[in-house]
């Protein structure tokens, strides 16, 4: 089987799964298509190497997340990652069941990097260390991004619950 056939077989088998991840990362249909096409073109260029990997699909999924962040990369300084999060004890607090149609728009409103952390953590089930590796940052930074995202979601949900207008997160 040559490289093109091998690549085509992989894409055909994993297209739906990869598209869904791209959709969650990009938070839009058109963004997902652009992200997925760019990522798969890059994967094709290196397919000889990727196809020999034990976890080739995992590598491509990480390329997707990395592609999203790279496309929106900007100066990201001044943030101080920290080990202990002040609101971390609230993570296990019980909440009333929230409809997906309410929660998903709030996730979409998160900044791209925070959204990527949330998707990688709760959809891809990656650990903080694995997310740090994918995004090319320190585990402490993943913690702070995750913390900021969760705090923003809580604020937005509380605002919705009290009937306040939900602004940009």
């Amino acid at each position: 089987m040559n490289v093109d056939e091998d690549f085509a077989e992989f894409v055909a088998a994993r297209w739906a799964s990869l598209y869904r991840l791209a959709y969650l990362l990009a938070a839009s249909h058109s963004g997902a298509e652009d992200l997925l096409q760019t990522t798969l073109e890059k994967a094709y260029v290196n397919w000889g190497r990727i196809s020999r990997m034990e976890y080739g699909e995992a590598y491509v999924r990480r390329m997707l997340a990395n592609g999203l962040i790279s496309s929106r990369r900007r100066a990201w300084v001044g943030e101080q990652p920290y080990e202990h999060l002040p609101e971390s004890t609230q993570d296990s607090l019980e909440l009333p069941v929230v409809d997906r149609s309410l929660l998903w728009p709030l996730v979409c409103a998160l900044p791209a990097r925070q959204r990527a952390v949330i998707v990688l953590r709760y959809y891809e089930d990656l650990s903080e260390a694995q997310i740090a590796e994918v995004l090319g940052c320190a585990p402490g930074t993943v913690k702070s991004q995750s913390s900021a995202a969760i705090a923003a979601l809580r604020r937005a949900l509380a605002a919705v619950a009290t009937g306040e207008a939900v602004g940009e997160l």
């Binding site: 894409v11 598209y19 096409q37 260029v45 590598y59 909440l95 929230v98 709760y122 959809y123």
Partner: protein, 289 residues
């Protein structure tokens, strides 16, 4: 239900609810081929630019040793429009990786890619005879009873499990020289002879460590997966050979950890080890020049 749980459910449901668009593989492959052509053209351009810079720097640095005065650099001669630039010939050849090719002279090797996407290249100079091509070059003596080799690479994965080709490997590779050196000190079936120690090599600060590895495998012991394929100790386990000694230097090249290694069978002669050391010390990183 916690927010964590709700996020898991919401993301999963949102993903599953999407109508997946149709797939056009040929468009993807076409885009990939165009991207590859652009990449190759860019690399060729970088090679030309490097050759011009090296050539220019060399001309400026020339000194008339008889008189002790600096020789005026020769102005580059203009070439007719449309003619190929002669400086392209100054770029060393790519090092072959097919087995048994004899290596001599200087070769340029793609060692890896930096975090920012810049190729890391290195020039290798083979002055001693007897080096054979592979993913990474090897030399032998005593009719193949003792082997030595040299490698330079940025690992994509590192050995786990038994360490043998086909066993597990981890894609979680350290992003700093220290983290990577610690991982190399824990290779499967290895014993640390010299722990990671700060040093300097090939013009870069580095961490050096030495390990002894039991390399008995059905095929070969695979240290890492690299842009040149497996970094395997390919011939070391033949003829009943059990152990090799491998020195690692983990360098910081433009912010990216790069491994330089040199290995030999325990019973290799000092002459063979010396040949490997000479080859390793000939390596020059292009991006650092």
């Amino acid at each position: 239900m916690t927010l964590d749980d709700q996020l898991r459910v919401a993301l999963s449901q949102e993903a599953e609810s999407r109508n997946v668009p149709g797939l056009d593989v040929q468009t993807l492959i076409g885009g990939g081929q165009r991207r590859r052509r652009r990449r190759n053209a860019t690399r060729a351009g970088i090679g030309c630019a490097v050759a011009v810079l090296i050539g220019g720097g060399f001309a400026v640095a020339q000194v008339d040793h008889d008189s002790g005065r600096v020789v005026e650099p020769v102005a580059p001669t203009s070439t007719p429009t449309g003619s190929p630039s002669p400086t392209i010939e100054a770029v060393p050849r790519a090092m072959p990786n097919e087995g048994n090719a004899q290596l001599s002279g200087t070769y340029r090797v793609l060692t890896g890619i930096t975090e920012s996407g810049t190729p890391i290249e290195a020039d290798w100079s083979f002055r001693a005879p007897g080096w054979r091509a592979g993913n990474f070059p090897v030399a032998s003596e005593d009719q193949g009873n003792a082997w030595a080799g040299v490698g330079v690479y940025r690992p994509f994965t590192l050995a786990e499990g038994t360490g043998c080709q086909g066993s597990e490997s981890t894609p979680s590779v350290g992003r700093t020289p220290h983290a990577l050196a610690v991982q190399l000190a824990h290779l499967p079936r290895s014993t640390v002879l010299v722990p990671p120690t700060p040093t300097e090599t090939l013009g870069h600060l580095a961490l050096h460590l030495r390990v002894q590895v039991d390399v008995r495998c059905a095929k070969w012991y695979r240290v890492a997966d690299t842009s040149r394929g497996d970094r395997g100790l390919t011939y070391a386990g033949h003829h009943g050979v059990k152990n090799v000694v491998i020195d690692f230097w983990v360098l910081d090249v433009d912010g990216t950890p790069v491994v330089v290694d040199e290995w030999h069978n325990l019973d290799a002669s000092a002459e063979l080890v010396g040949r490997a050391t000479q080859l390793r010390e000939s390596i020059r990183f292009v991006s650092a020049q």
